[in-house]
């Protein structure tokens, strides 16, 4: 089964001039896809659609076998909580929660992910395991979130996206705030964790040099037929 199927998908705020228009995109389960796109290529729109925050104006959007437009707003929120981990470009963490509380938060929104984390030896244990695997040892865990470096913050965000083993992880420019060394290290760690759990990864970045890390690389500007018409 495919993790993701987009067919004749279009999205626009008004009646005309769609922001995103994709004829066909299929991502297999366990695939790690690199989507290269400059700003204005429809990245934010695609992220909103995958997350179920936006609904396609027309066409099919099937995530993990579920046609998202068949779900209500609340059901899409729950679907996102249960099945999708999201990593933003930066400022991923809630400054008023501890590192562990940030990482375990998705499980408080989703019984499914909570159950999976518990099956892996307990919520905090699983969070600590993920953080350690991503290179954040015990000496870091006690620190307030705001004292972490940007690279450390992104790794905490990755652990949060991965906890409770969601089937799909969407990363939106997660490395753009990192320098080259840390960028490679981050991607390697993220890929390793996804590989270990068969997680499908969609990695969006404007930087084409990262493409070689991934199984498959696509240019969003090319597959989005609306972008050459001057969409935002």
């Amino acid at each position: 089964m495919s993790a993701l199927v987009l067919q004749d998908l279009a999205f626009s705020w008004g009646v005309d001039d769609p922001l995103l228009e994709i004829k066909k995109l299929v991502v297999k389960k366990g695939d790690r896809l690199f989507l290269q796109g400059a700003s204005g290529s429809g990245k934010s729109t695609l992220l909103g659609l995958l997350g179920g925050v936006l609904v396609p104006t027309s066409g099919r959007l099937t995530v993990l076998g579920q046609e998202l437009s068949n779900l209500s707003g609340g059901e899409r929120d729950r679907f996102r909580a249960d099945h999708i981990g999201i990593i933003f470009q930066m400022f991923n963490l809630l400054p008023y929660l501890s590192i562990l509380a940030n990482v375990t938060l998705p499980c408080r929104f989703s019984k499914t992910r909570m159950a999976r984390a518990m099956a892996n030896g307990g919520l905090e244990q699983e969070a600590t395991r993920l953080l350690t695997a991503l290179g954040l040892g015990d000496e870091v865990l006690a620190k307030p979130v705001m004292e972490l470096s940007v690279g450390q913050q992104q790794r905490v965000a990755a652990a949060r996206a991965l906890i409770g083993a969601p089937e799909l992880v969407v990363a939106d420019e997660p490395t753009s705030a990192l320098d080259a060394d840390r960028r490679e290290k981050f991607i390697e760690l993220l890929m390793a964790e996804c590989a270990a759990h068969g997680t499908t990864l969609i990695f969006v970045s404007h930087d084409p040099s990262l493409g070689h890390f991934f199984d498959r690389s696509l240019n969003l500007g090319e597959i989005n037929r609306s972008s050459d018409r001057g969409g935002i």
Binding site: G73, D77, L94, F109
Partner: protein, 424 residues
Amino acid sequence: MMQLSVFFLLALRSVLNRRTTAALTVISIALSVTLFLGVEKIREGAQSGFANTVSGTDLIVGARSGAINLLLYSVFRIGDATNNVSWETYEDIAKRPDVAWVVPISLGDSHRGFRVMGTQSAYFDHYKTGDQQKLKFLDGTVFTTLFEAVIGADVAQELNYSVGDKIVVAHGIGAVSFVKHEAMPFTVVGVLARTGTPVDRTIHVTLSSIEAIHQGWEGGAAPRGAGTTQAESFTGLELQPSSITAVFLGLTSRIGVLKVQRDLNEYAAEPLLAIIPGVALAQLWRVIGIVEIALTAISIFVVLTGLFALMTNILTSLNERRREMAILRAIGAGVRHIFLLLVTEAALLAGAGAVSALALVQLVLWGAAPLIVEATGVSVAGPGISLFDVVTVFVVVLIACLLSFFPAWRAYRQSLADGLTIKV
């Protein structure tokens, strides 16, 4: 489905993260609710104090006028009697088998703005204030003979009088009187403890003394020339007044109060009015209670102001919290969760403020209730949380939640528009 505890935790942590503004909001709500609860406590105290201005007296009888008028001049020493009650009528009332005790009073003179009241020593046995409290003596004793006076706490304090001082009574009731009973000064023999009632502003003398100082004044003016009577000339003389201003009376059985009241109101020999003090006091309170309503209204508006400040605070925080909202949504929060989160936050802030107010009021009552009684005579309730207090806290939290619907709705719209895009 997400549990409520998560909302609570997130709202609490988020509020604590903005602890300076949150603390200010809590303080403004705490102060406004403290004012509201405090006004209510004082109002309760004033009302129950007022209702007990006179207690233990079953009926007050005077010449026929209005009930409130009779109450005003006999108990509050405000205004004048339109007419007197004859001594014969007084004796007739006293003889009734269902009457346990009678105390006559006679008003009309004053001393430096304080009313002088002629009565009998039985007054101090039967006249009660507050919760059936007899009048207590701070110093000295009851008068026993002519030209002795027992003064209330305000009189003693404001005029700096104590036992042994001489006072001259003026004819009439003005603060400045040109006609004085100078020939017959009174000696202070007793000072009463504060009651918070008009007793504090009264100078009590014997009925015979009132009669004595008016000997020869039947024409309404001072006797002229050498006819001026001196105090010494009355020693040992029993003076019987021909009329009195009003009568306080107690019954052998309170069950008969309405019957006695009716009998007296239909008294054939002269037109009388008998009032039940509690009923007349309640009528009077309805008139002056307007002040209390105004006070309560003001304090309600202050509380609303505090709650609007809370709403403003949450509203202004929204813009800087767009990232927080987007992160929560990415993790799986729905827009309705965002809405609920903000309502929870408002409830937390308002709850903290209202509960602090409750504690503050208790603290003040615990520390200051005795001082308030001493200074004003208004006995506010001691520490203790009433149902009213608890209801107030709940209502404040409820209103805060309702008001927070506006910022919550804004956040909801904002969150819908932003989606998973982080706007910094």
